[in-house]
Every structure is written in C-alpha cells, then in structure tokens.
Amino acid sequence: MSGVMLKMAVYGLLRVGWELAGPGPAWWGGLLIVLGIVSAVLGVLAAMAEHDLKRLLAYSSVENIGIVFVGLGAGLLLAGLGQPAAAAFALAAGLLHALNHAAFKGLLFLGAGAVLQAAHTRDLEKMGGLLHRMPWTGGAFLVGAAAIAGLPPLNGFASEWMTFQALLLLTGQGAVPAIGGALTAGLLALTSGLALFCFVKAFGIAFLGTGRSSHVEDVREASRPMLAGMAILAVACVALGLCSSAVVGLFSPITVTLVGAAVPPSPGLSLAAPATGAAASSYLPLGVAAEVLGLAALAALAGRLLGGRLVVRVAPPWVCGIALEPRMQYSAAALAKPVRIIFRALLRPYRAVEREQSAAPSFVVGVRFDAGLQPVYEHRLLRAPVGLVMSASRQIRALQNGSLRMYLAYMLVTLVVALLLARPGGAP
C-alpha cells in the first residue's frame, strides 16, 4: 500500500501542479524543496523514536517522500531558472527515489507482516534473535534495511546520490539557490545518517541478539509464498541499484513532457551527473560492488595467509562476570536515547516515574513509569490544520445524507458546471 498509495501524491503533484498549471515560477520549486526536506528530517526523527515496527516504517515513508519532493523541487527550480537538462536530471532523481521507495518499503512491510504473523507483536522491545528462527525473512529484511539506509551499491543510495548531484547543480545558479541547495544537502546528509541509525535499530533489535520476551519462543519461518514475495522485491532492490543508469533512461519521456529535455545519457552502466563546469562526477554501482567484494575477499585471504586456519570458539558473551539475561540487552528505547536527547527541542521527550511506598521511604512496593514524546511539530504545527480539516470534513458530511434524490441533484449540478466550464470560449 505504501508502495503505491503514497506515490499518488507525487503523481498528482506532477500532473496538476506541472502539466495543468504549467511549470510555475521558480519559487514553487524552492517551496517544494523546503517542504520536502522538513518532512524528511521530521519523518526520520519520528521513526527513530518509534518502537512499533509498522509505525516506524510508516514514519520512514514520510522521510522518503520528503526526499522525493526535494528532487522534484530541485527540478522545478532548475526548470524555472532555464536549465532544462539539469531539471530533467533532478526530476529523474526524484522519480527514481519514488520507484526505489516502492521496492524497499514494500519489502520491509512484507517483512514486518511476516514478523507480526510469526511473533504476534509489532513491538520491537518484545522481539530479538529472530534471524535464527526466520533466516530468510531476516535476510530479505536486511536487504531492505540496507537499501533504505542509503548504502551503496543498493538502490536507495543511487537515488540519494542523484539527489545530492541535483542539489549541487543548484549551486551554479546564483547565490540564493546555491546556499539553499547546499543547506538542503546538509540536512539530507543528516537525514540519511539518522535513517541508517533507524534501520540498524529496526533490524538489529528485531532480528539480532536473543529473544526479549515469550513472543519469540515458538516463532517459525514465514510460508513459501510470503518468502517468494520478499525475494522478488529484494532482488528488485539489488537490480535497481546495480542497473540504475538504465532505469533512469526510462524516465526520459516523462521529463520531455514536463521540462522539454531528456535525462542526460549516462555512459555504460554508470550514473553521471550533467557537467556544469570542467568535469562531472559519476557513480558506477557495479564497480563499487565488485570492488568491495573483491577487497573483502582479499582481506580474508590475507588473514588466512598471515594467520593460518581460523579457530572459532563459541562462548557466552561477557557481561561483567554474571550470566546474561535477555532483558540486559540494549533496548530500542535505549538505542534511540542519544537521538531523543540531541533533538529534545523538537521531540520533547517526557518521563514520569511514580513510586508507591509502604511506610518508610526505602520500601518501594510498586513503580509506575510512563515515558513518551510530545513532538513540538505535532502540537504547534499540525494541530491547527488538522483541526481545520476535521471540522471542514464534518461540515461536508452534511452533503452525504443518504437521500438518492439529493445525490441525483448533485450529479446534475456537477454536469451543468462541467458543461459550462467546457463551453468553447467559456471560463478559463
């Protein structure tokens, strides 16, 4: 659902905001970039603080659609500044990220669904060690997590790379776009750093270590058809990453319609940024993948040659001399704590501890604990517009009164208005 539904907004924006209303003034692009990057940063912060696996993925969609909008906004801005080729490249960056997001977010939601079905919980704090019980689901989830964290050579990195190059193209267009583009690149880097942390948390807490609750005790691997679905999307993540230059070429018809220029062609299998000055940078995913694998193998070989056969001994982990208990493991909340503290001005964490005591202050009978977030953007920013939309919706519901005659009347009115608008030489 998140793969397709969320893209409807992108599609609608492109169709209505661009094709129907015509490419607007350049500042529309700037506005789109600002909105995109703000939702990217806030989305990833919310995801970081979330411990419900599916809600975490949903917040991360906010982040990724923000990144898509940064690319599209850069395209709109560059088109407004009279740079069709650069605009086509930036648009392609946004579109590629939309496609990539459909692949890895679909994969992650399937993985989360398999985990929910097997462990009957979406709470990360109750999971742990699932990789031992669900090796294939875990492997597929790992591919999705690495892709969404923007790691080369997977697909998420390719579109983030293009978005950075698109922002760099803005720096050749005068002071204001240049400074804006560079600042956006900084915030995008922050977003990708936090996204990495967030998906290390999601995968690491759920699948690594050892089980944190009885929920994971009799977990079994997902069924074959579920695994097949995940496998297809995991392969798609890898393939879209390695062959991103070929995929980008497919966006040319779209960019020709929207900005009148094709996506700048890439040599061979590497992605290339359009040159503004002396040179241009490029990214060859296949080469990077081969090189990392090759050098890792070389390191293994060097270890073998210099150290002989590897001897491995399995032992309980060291926890200061006592036996490890599962609840001693780092929890999702503890992992996210540095982020909660660093961004406390935005997230507003709160914590309430109540002790019930019997007689003397030292005898605690029970402890009530409550902690959570009151994000500043929810209170200050979103409450008013959400309230407005809700009350407007309640007003509009008066129209839906169940009377068939009324509905027929609506249709008649709509038809008349549409005919009036479509009249040759009628309303604009």
Binding site: L142, Q165, L168, S282
Partner: protein, 307 residues
C-alpha cells in the same frame, strides 16, 4: 596502468595505515613524557591478532562473522577512490566524494549490526553513541564538501582537489574537516581510542566482543579509515606537490609529498588529542554542530566575500 595504480595505492594504504597509527601513538607518548612502543608496534599487534583464535558470542549469527570483512572491504574501496600521490585516484570512474561517504556508511552499518548481534549490552551502548555522532558528522562532512565543490561545480575528488584557492572559505572548510576527521577517527575530544570504559566509549564499545583474527581485521580497517580520512583532508585542502601527470618523477614527488603531509596531519591530530580533555558524551553534539556551522560559513563566504 590503472590496474597498476590500483594495486599500488591499495598496497600503500594497507602498509602505511598501521605506520601512521604508530606515528600518532609515538607523538602522544612523547607528549606524556614516556618512551612508548616503536613505530611498528601497531603492525605487530595486527599480525599477532591475525594468528589468535576468535571467541564468538553464543547468540551471534552469520552477521557477526561477515561484518569485519565488509568493514575492511568498504574502507579499502574508499581508499582507492581518494587522490593520494596522483591527482586522479585509480577508481575515479567508480564514484565521487558522495560515494566515499556512502562507503563509510556501509562499513559503519556492518559493524553496528555486529555490535547488536552478540546480545551483550556494551555493544549496543557503544553503537548507539557511535551512530548518533555519525549522524551529526555526516552533515558537517557533506556541507564542507559542498563548500569546496562550488567553484568546480563537481563532487569528483580530482576536481575538488584541483579547484581550491587559498581563501576564507577554504580555511573555514578545513576547520570543519578537522573536526570531522577527529570524530571519524574516534579521537579525543569526541571519543577515546584507548579505553573500553563504559562512561566514555563509543567506537571501542562497538567492537568489544571481537577477538582474535576478526579483531585484527577491524583494527586494520579502522587504521585504513583513519588514513583515508586524513588523505581526504590532505587532498581537498593542501594538494601541493601531488602528481598531475603519469611520469615516474612526478609520481615519486607526489608520493613523498603525500607521506609528508599525511605525517604532519597525523602529528597535528596527536597534538590535539594530547592537549584536550575528552568532552562529556552529550557535549559532543555541540562540537559537531559547530563543525556544521563552520562549513555553512564556508559556503556563505563563497558568495559574500567571494572566496
């Protein structure tokens, strides 16, 4: 020729990285008025660890075993993409500065997962700090790169190295990059490379459960990373002496200049580490924010004072 350059640069990095660590340790020892181990000690340590058995947590999965190789592979690949003796790095066509940053992220991802894999709480603690700092280092690094990329209009590392002129912007970006280098190499005042104490550790906590050969590889990888970061700073801010053509004379001058500059930056890093106390964990974000701010100033000064 490219293949020869590639082999040469990877070999150079692999051999030079423990030596650079030795230089830094010797300078630190001199500052603390002790004799300290010899320059080759880090190399001996790695060779020793490669021969030792590896003790693995009973909760660990395959990720714990694979992570050290991904870590080393990613940093070695990054090492072949940064200009060192010759202005065009051997793997120039494979990617630009953003790809190098992406490879750093790949290595960090591998090690962070391995830290959680053991079910030990120290791994999680170190890893959560390390990743939180890394998320704040990344904007500072990218903003500095953008500040340097504006004149060339390209993020390819050869163009970045070629396009610099001395000016306010370059100096501000250099200051930001030095803070980034300190953070990425896990040194004081941000992290302490010499201790596992849980109050202060970040990177060292992450690798606490490793032993034997995987630990040796991680040490090696971390030293390669240290060299790559410093080489990045050297190439971007002081490319003087670097070879611009493929001749034996130019290459040997470039190599000599590179080793000298690298040594100087290493000594500077050791002096900074010796003259400062470690920051409290939650004061570190202020320092990293200051690095981002310096980089933003570097970008602004390009347009306000023109250089």
């Amino acid at each position: 020729v490219t293949a020869a350059l590639l082999v040469g640069q990877v070999l150079l990095v692999v051999l030079l990285a423990p030596l650079l660590q030795g230089v830094i340790k010797s300078v630190k020892a001199a500052c603390q008025n002790r004799r300290g181990p010899g320059l080759l000690q880090p190399s001996y340590d790695i060779l020793k660890l490669l021969r030792r058995e590896s003790v693995v947590s009973e909760h660990a999965s395959w990720i714990f075993h694979v992570a050290p190789y991904v870590y080393v592979g990613a940093y070695l690949t990054a090492a072949a993409m940064v200009p060192m003796a010759f202005i065009h790095p051997p793997l120039e066509a494979f990617g630009d500065a953003v790809v190098v940053v992406g490879l750093f992220a790949l290595a960090r991802f591998a090690l962070a997962l391995a830290a959680l894999d053991t079910a030990s709480n120290f791994g999680g603690m170190g890893m959560s700090r390390d990743l939180a700092f890394a998320a704040l280092v990344e904007p500072a690094l990218l903003l500095s790169l953008f500040a340097l990329a504006i004149p060339a209009g390209s993020l390819a590392l050869a163009d970045l190295a070629e396009g610099q002129r001395l000016g306010a912007s370059l100096l501000l970006a250099l200051a930001a990059l030095v803070i980034v280098a300190i953070a990425e190499t896990g040194r004081i005042p941000i992290d302490n490379p010499d201790t596992h104490l849980e109050l202060t550790m970040a990177h060292e906590g992450m690798v606490l459960e490793y032993s034997g050969r995987p630990l040796g590889l991680i040490f090696w990888g971390a030293q390669v990373k240290q060299l790559v970061i410093l080489a990045l700073v050297v190439a971007l801010t002081s490319p003087g002496g670097i070879a611009r053509e493929l001749s034996l004379g130019a290459l040997s001058v470039g190599l000599l200049a590179f080793v000298l500059k690298l040594g100087l930056f290493g000594v500077a890093l050791a002096l900074i580490e010796s003259s400062m106390p470690k920051l409290r964990v939650f004061r570190v974000p202020d320092l990293l924010g200051a690095a981002s701010l310096l980089a933003v100033l570097a970008i602004l000064s390009r347009f306000v004072i023109g250089g």
